[in-house]
């Protein structure tokens, strides 16, 4: 069974802390994505990567950075967490570069910033 695994399901951090969200996929997918889900706003793309060491900004990249050192791993970094970054974070991967490719999502990481 193919999987996207997000290492932390629930995190509570304080304002100003550095936060790492880790995501690993075992499907040998080229593409990996980070979304956040907020009520009434749906899923919004933060960053994505089409290849190792490659990253592209999504629709809401401010306050975030990413790292992709290995094909299977894509990390989301909050350099200095703020309360407006309290959200559900979803990692996804897909095979191939076309937007028509189906995304496989992880279970999500719920982050609360106090």
């Amino acid at each position: 069974d193919v999987k996207v695994t997000q290492s932390s399901r629930y995190l509570v951090k304080r304002t100003g802390e550095k936060v790492f969200l880790e995501c690993v996929q075992d499907m040998d997918h080229e593409n990996m994505f980070w979304y956040r889900q907020d009520p009434g706003l749906g899923l919004r793309l933060i960053y994505f990567s089409y290849d190792v060491k490659m990253k592209e900004k999504g629709d809401i990249p401010e306050g975030y950075s990413v790292s992709r050192e290995k094909k299977e791993r894509f990390s989301l970094i909050l350099e200095s967490a703020s309360t407006n970054q309290t959200s559900m974070y979803l990692c996804a991967s897909s095979f191939g570069v076309s937007g028509a490719n189906v995304l496989t999502f992880g279970a999500g990481s719920r982050l609360t910033v106090l």
Binding site: V4, R9, Y35, G40, L41, G42, L43, R44, L45, F48, G58, L90, A92, V97, S98, G99, A100, V102, L103, T104, F105, G106, A107, G108
Partner: protein, 113 residues
């Protein structure tokens, strides 16, 4: 600017009846449309898709209809079951190599006995 819109945040349907979830989009360059289903505390899972060359795609109890002239798609679930209770997201994309998937805001479906 919301390119993909789901104007109904919630929908309540009796078990056995039809559920109709609607989605509108503004970008005429979108060529591929998908529906995802999300249960609480889980990631979204792919449900069904349709390309712009079709106006209907069916998979068991789920059918997606596309009206390109109206920039509208809908998901029909017949018959609805309590296990279908979830949040449903529609999503759209072009078919180019750099085209990203754009999601709607979601509709929470509740199917009651």
């Amino acid at each position: 600017d919301q390119q993909v819109k789901q104007n109904s945040p919630s929908l309540s349907v009796q078990e056995g009846r039809i559920s109709i979830l609607n989605c509108d989009y503004t970008n005429s360059m979108f060529d591929y449309f998908l529906w995802y289903k999300k249960y609480p505390a889980e990631g979204p899972t792919f449900l069904i898709s349709i390309s712009s060359i079709k106006d209907k795609n069916e998979d068991g109890r789920f059918t997606v209809f596309l009206n390109k002239s109206a920039k509208h798609l809908s998901l029909h679930i017949v018959p609805s079951q309590p296990g279908d209770s979830a949040v449903y997201f529609c999503a759209a994309s072009g078919l180019g190599n750099t085209d990203k998937l754009i999601f709607g805001t979601g509709t929470r479906l509740q199917v009651f006995p």
